[in-house]
Symmetry: C2
Subunit: 403 residues, 2 copies
């Protein structure tokens, strides 16, 4: 498999009517955190809420009349599903999307909104994928692979043209790697336009085959139990072809970020850039904020790949992100079980100007003495310094801070 | 007091270096909900996260050298604080911001980030305001009023120039009213550019003096106990001058929205537009989505005034939104207080494929018998049907569903 700048330019002329040229904007808050100029590419504001529409638009536009009549099928519980469904609707084709049975309702609803036929089948993505292939053979649909497809990759690569047009001085680009379709397209395009550009791939630590392969300089694509909040890049069975033909040749570095780092990046983007980005989309910023690559940059573009995040997940991430940043603190104390104790504690908290969100008070715990009570505070705080001060205050009152 | 299009044009030339010309974008999801074309004006993406920087930039730029040397003072726990602080830093002036003692930490931190001297004083805005005036007299600072100031209003009015430049066919504009500075500027500018434009003011139902006055066609500005999640427009003592000179003359309608309507608009913007908007900023969209005005429109611009919302508040709003949609359920049960009960309940929940978020278990309640225990489940659910099924299941197990 191979794609060229020409393929991407052709894709561009085909997909332009269907997609936004998304905003590329300098972010002073990210620049401060990174130590070099950071430009954010808002693919979360793309049609369907992610870059996946670019590849789907290119692929579906290239189908023959007979194929268009037959309709398309894809397996996905995420952005690929919406990209394919949206484009099928726009081109007047039938679309069948197979999703795992446990898929979040919001994803099912969003995909159906584009008129697709959603089939819930299988306990996980692999089973849904297998079923989609089965259906495809039986019914003669066209199967649309999420990344191992030259037209899909060229479609995603149109991002490179926009980046170069908006700011030719970009010297580094951070791109998330799931299957590898996005980075293959973007790297091919940008490298052809400016051979000096460095491409840094970002994976979630819980789904890091490509990063491990890159480090080992050979394919290490053992299927793994993926575990990350960045479901958009949680690929269980990565493709050796994608590694050999693209990732290994085009990337200057491939780094990983933890879920905590991703959560913090999501919170940062909500608070400072007022924008909603999903885990896979915020992983790139997490890599920059945590200085994961040793490659130096003057002006980096950070692709925020998508914004389709379940609000239940947003709640948990806000919680986690605020905790990691020291803006919410959970403090467990063993306190003497006598009247007035809680009052002394709350007045200390008030004096230190923290806000109490919740108090749990329990006598049943093996972590405390028989005359003690276990108190857990959840506090709204300004940062780690304030938390340390409050803990010190509790200790000065003669209490044991357990955690 | 009076401002003209000329004042606004002058303001424009002064503030341009300091502010963004913010995005005006057609929203297909809002258009579908409204029934007419909706363009969103993203002032939540403005420098400092709200439109307030426009007025502050104009005001502070017009100070004399002596005044600049003296420094500025303002009372605010919100966007005005950040606007003044940011501009003072950019123009090399000292800024003192007086905030009520109970102000959310995030607002204090954000204001300090711009180098301002934050003084926490008073139990509420009025007390902070009084203290700011006192300090101003003592120290000779320049007091910057949030809206009752021609330069401030002309600054906010620069939004009108951007709206008209980006789409001269806008026939209606929805603007939130707190003190009235924003709508005075925008209405003056737009009306002068296109006399046919209709201006619809939006207030929170819990802080609706201007709406009541508009309806009564006379000043009804009794100070009220304001209560709304839209803290940016929760003005306790509205100004008669602002009503008489501007609101009454420039508005075609003034409508109100409830906190639940605002909360749903915030959730809608997060899920569909991937953007974070505060209560005061989402009130305009809430008015459109709930068809609050009888004025017909073909193409309306909705100003999303700001995005500075506390993430703790976002969590609560998401919670509320998800509960209303049946995606989170709280179920209270009276259960026999014997071993094994909870186990039977959790296995039922698992069988119905709901996800347990929290369980509260208590023996102290007057709503249950002496041999019973009160159990409250918080579940993540797919919708009202699933919740009804789970409740039916509990009842089939012989339990009393209290709520």
């Amino acid at each position: 498999m191979k794609i060229t700048l020409e393929d991407i330019k052709k894709a561009e002329s085909v997909v332009r009517p269907y997609i936004h040229h998304t905003l590329l904007e300098f972010s002073s808050s990210c620049t401060k955190a990174a130590g070099f100029d950071v430009l954010l590419k808002f693919e979360n504001l793309q049609v369907t809420g992610s870059f996946k529409i670019r590849g789907a638009a290119n692929k579906l536009s290239h189908l023959s009349e007979a194929e268009k009549k037959a309709g398309v099928i894809a397996a996905s519980a995420g952005n690929h599903a919406q990209g394919v469904a949206c484009m099928a609707q726009k081109l007047g084709m039938k679309a069948i999307i197979v999703m795992p049975e446990q898929s979040p309702l919001i994803k099912v609803v969003s995909t159906r909104r584009w008129g697709a036929d959603v089939v819930l089948k299988g306990a996980n993505y692999d089973e849904a994928y297998a079923y989609a292939l089965e259906l495809q053979k039986k019914q003669g649909y066209v199967f649309v692979h999420p990344y191992e497809d030259e037209l899909i990759m060229a479609g995603q690569g149109t991002i490179a043209l926009e980046l170069y047009e908006d700011d030719p001085e970009i010297d580094t680009v951070y791109v998330a790697i799931g299957g590898g379709g996005l980075i293959s397209g973007v790297a091919t395009g940008l490298r052809a336009l400016n051979p000096k550009v460095r491409v840094i791939g970002v994976q979630a630590a819980g789904a890091d085959s490509m990063a491990r392969s890159f480090k080992a300089k050979k394919v290490e694509l053992v299927p793994q139990t993926v575990s990350t909040i960045a479901d958009g890049i949680a690929v269980k069975k990565p493709s050796a072809v994608m590694y050999q033909e693209f990732i290994s040749r085009l990337c200057d570095d491939v780094v990983t970020v933890t879920d905590d780092e991703i959560a913090r990046a999501i919170v940062f983007l909500m608070e400072r850039a007022k924008t909603v980005v999903e885990g896979a989309g915020a992983a790139t910023l997490a890599a920059v904020m945590n200085h994961k690559s040793s490659i130096k940059s003057k002006k980096a573009a950070i692709i925020l790949g998508g914004g389709n995040i379940d609000l239940n997940m947003v709640e948990r991430i806000i919680d986690r992100g605020l905790q990691v940043a020291g803006r919410i603190a959970k403090i467990q104390l063993a306190a003497p079980d006598v009247p007035g104790t809680l009052n002394r504690l709350t007045s200390l908290v008030a004096e230190k100007k923290a806000n109490i969100l919740n108090i749990n008070h329990s006598r049943v715990s093996d972590r405390i003495g028989l005359r003690e009570t276990l108190i857990e505070f959840t506090l709204e705080t300004t940062g780690p310094e304030q938390i340390a001060e409050i803990k010190k205050g509790f200790q000065a009152l003669g209490l044991t801070v357990i955690e």
